[in-house]
């Protein structure tokens, strides 16, 4: 059996065709995000008050669906998993960056991907958020040289779950499904508790 996937990284697509297909893939993403309800901050911010579970439910379902397909394709030998891009894990930068990100997300009610869909349906708050993104990026470009050591601290490389707990891609998959479902169960339980108290 020949590993042909991913097509681009295995040399089956030239750069221009890959870019053109990227536009089509983006259109599919945008359509699904809008139809799933990601085009309004009214579905994102309430997550943090356990009032809406739309976003966590979609995320968990998507993670399980995609990882199941990747697992099957890899075990059957059609996918060269090492060719799939996974960002390098920087432990400390991710922890601190994640906390800052969370503050910005509950403050704005947006994240970069959902805001693109929000702008497409004329959400004014999404437009202001996107302008903030451009300014924030520029700010980071200018402070980067002073925080360069921290930004690259805790470098663990292409760090998949099997490298942490042992085993292979099957273990990675089981942990992914387990953690996803556990977190979903947690937010569902929290919502029930808060609904009962009538605080919302």
């Amino acid at each position: 059996m020949e590993t042909v996937f991913p097509l681009f990284t295995n040399g089956f697509l030239d750069n221009n065709l890959n870019l053109m297909l990227g536009l089509g893939i983006g259109i599919i993403f945008g359509f699904i995000l809008e139809r799933g309800g990601f085009g309004t901050s009214a579905h994102i911010a309430p997550v943090f008050y356990f009032r809406s579970l739309i976003v966590p439910k979609i995320m968990v379902t998507a993670i399980i669906t995609a990882s199941t397909l990747i697992l099957i394709g890899s075990l059957l030998g059609y996918i060269d998993f090492s060719q799939i891009f996974i960002p390098t894990t920087y432990l400390w930068a991710y922890l601190v960056g994640g906390i800052i990100f969370g503050l910005g997300m509950v403050m704005s009610g947006w994240c970069p991907g959902t805001a693109v869909v929000g702008i497409a349906s004329l959400k004014i708050d999404a437009i202001f958020f996107a302008l903030g993104l451009l300014v924030g990026m520029f700010f980071y470009f200018n402070i980067y040289e002073y925080i360069i050591d921290f930004a690259n601290s805790g470098n663990l490389g292409r760090f998949t779950i099997d490298k942490l707990v042992g085993g292979d891609i099957r273990i990675s998959y089981l942990v992914t499904v387990g953690v996803s479902l556990a977190l979903l169960l947690f937010v569902m339980t929290m919502k029930k508790v808060i609904d009962k108290k009538g605080e919302n």
Partner: protein, 171 residues
């Protein structure tokens, strides 16, 4: 005419998962978003001042010519088009400032902007956002994706009390 209903979360999640898988199989990467804003910002700065090509961070975007000739940037243009088509067909295109009852829209827009500034800087530390880091990373078994997600959503829950009024009754 009324707007169309959203898909159920499970339907949307399965379709999003399949689309992510297709993206990985074709391009070798999944959905991205923040990178397109970083590159746009760099390109704007470069257009205003060509010396910006020497910048310690943004230089890497500019050294191959136009920073916008990039897969993630083009894919984000696609997200905009796809989102627009869906919203148009669902009759959901209308100017709106989403905010809690009685909350001033000026204050809301200020926090949307400031939140954007904060999120942008954070995504450079975390090498991606809820799309390119959390969703893609979790689907490809990355430990970093979970570190990011737990920190981001944990902080979201933790800081939520500060913005209670802004989101009062919003659902």
């Amino acid at each position: 005419m009324n707007e169309k209903k959203y898909w159920s979360p499970v339907t949307a999640g399965i379709l999003l998962g399949i689309a992510l898988f297709i993206s990985f199989m074709v391009a070798g990467q999944g959905m991205g978003a923040s990178g397109a804003f970083a590159r746009s910002s760099a390109q704007i700065a470069y257009t205003v001042d060509p010396n910006f090509a020497q910048n310690a961070y943004a230089g890497k975007y500019l050294k191959h010519g136009n920073a916008l000739l990039n897969w993630t940037v083009i894919e984000v243009v696609g997200i905009f088009i796809g989102g627009f088509i869906s919203a148009l067909l669902a009759r959901r295109i209308k100017p709106e400032v989403t905010r809690g009852k009685g909350y001033s829209s000026g204050k809301r827009l200020f926090f949307a902007f400031l939140g954007g500034v904060i999120v942008a800087a954070a995504t450079r530390l975390t090498r991606g956002c809820t799309s390119g880091q959390a969703l893609d990373g979790a689907a490809t078994f990355s430990v970093g994706a979970w570190i990011f997600m737990l920190a981001a959503f944990g902080a979201g829950f933790f800081f939520a009390f500060l913005f209670k009024k802004q989101w009062k009754g919003v659902e």
